[in-house]
Amino acid sequence: MVKVSTAAEAVGVVSDGAVVMIGGFMGVGSPHRLIDELVRQNKQGLTVIANDTARPGIGVGKLIDATLVRKVIVSHIGTNPQTQRQMLAGNLDVDLVPQGTLAEKVRAGGFGLGAVVTSTGVGTVAADGKRTIELDGCTFLLEMPLKAQFALINAKRADYSGNLEYVLTARNFNPLMAMAADTVIAEVEEVVPSGCIAPDAVATPGILVDSIVING
């Protein structure tokens, strides 16, 4: 049985300086209440792995606004001038990764793979400093897996067993991140009895989830 917590309690375990994966795509499918709580508890020096930093005041953008982030590993920051400003001022490390590669790196971390072998980024600045490998006459990048201490994710519903169900484009990186972090905190709209989410509708098995916060 999974533990249902308050946001304050669940986010309380995140330490300053932690590596945190945060689900969402331009704020859609992000754990908004957990992000607000990170800000309220003033967690500092975070390394955030996410698809993007959304916009000021939205999703991961709120952590940027509050200058709680030391480093981001994301696929783009083009929609958040605040991220760019902090980067150019030298206050924020930005590690840009092609979006599909980012998804595979998170998946590789959670699925126990040693690396991602991809042609995306070969011959571009995304290849700078990375190992390449020749296979059957083609060149591929070796991209290393990503893992995190915490994953803060969003789902539509949980059941008492912690199983998670997502909806439409709010799914995005959430199920991948649930596999790749030591501690998984999921924000949901409701928690239903076990058996009320059909096994085929579960995208994240409950055994991966450490605590549930209801954002209702």
Partner: protein, 218 residues
């Protein structure tokens, strides 16, 4: 008609029934407005859906159904939703028939630079590198010049998006096909001469004996 509409209309002619298509943000998105009647294509949004459509007129936005810019959209009957790994698996595994993307530069090798201007803001590549590397067909939809400077150049001076040669470049002046021999001028826009295209292009263009006009009503 304005130049963006012209470009979008010309690109729309490249879509075939049965295609899975991904349209970049901005100009490429306009392509969906000009599909031939009866054409059955599915649009993918890389944040996790096949079967996206614009938000139906007058409907309440549902925030958990969005495009890659985070804006609310609709879904056609027969849509499918999935996570980011699957979405890019479709792109990188060669299941995407066509992507239409904006461009900053295309060079004589047909290589595209479309994600970063050094010294300026650094937006990040998002899904552009995956799309250009993985899609079966890549069409660049862009204006021919930027503030008078040619965007079709000898060598890209901006950071490349991928080492893959794009398949077609459509501008408000011309349709150009990158090939192993170089850039071939396939069409001129209505009312535009070959000379005008050449004058606005830094790259060398191969000009066939006959260069038809884009089949677009003016």
């Amino acid at each position: 008609m304005d130049e963006k509409t012209l470009i979008a209309k010309r690109v729309a002619l490249e879509l075939k029934s049965g295609d899975l298509v991904n349209l970049g943000i901005g100009l490429p998105t306009m392509v969906a407005n000009f599909l031939s009647p009866g054409l059955e294509v599915m649009f993918q949004s890389e944040n996790g859906i096949i079967g996206m459509q614009t938000l139906p007129h007058g409907q309440v936005p549902f925030m958990e159904l969005s495009d890659a810019g985070g804006q609310p959209i609709g879904a056609v009957a027969g849509a499918a939703a999935f996570d980011s790994a699957m979405s890019f698996g479709l792109i990188r595994g060669g299941h995407l028939d066509l992507t239409v993307l904006g461009g900053l530069q295309v060079d004589e090798l047909g290589l595209l630079a479309n994600w970063m201007v050094p010294g300026k803001m650094v937006p990040g590549m998002g899904g552009a590198m995956d799309l250009v590397s993985g899609a079966k067909r890549v069409i660049v939809a862009m204006t021919h010049t930027a503030k008078g400077a040619p965007k079709i150049v000898r060598h890209c001076t901006l950071p490349l998006t991928a080492l893959r040669r794009v398949d077609l470049v459509v501008t408000e002046l011309a349709t150009i096909e990158p090939t192993g021999r170089g850039l071939v001028l396939r069409e001129t826009a209505p009312g535009v001469s070959v000379e005008q295209v050449l004058a606005a292009t830094e790259a060398e263009l191969i000009v066939p004996a006959s260069v038809p006009t884009m089949p677009i009503a003016a």
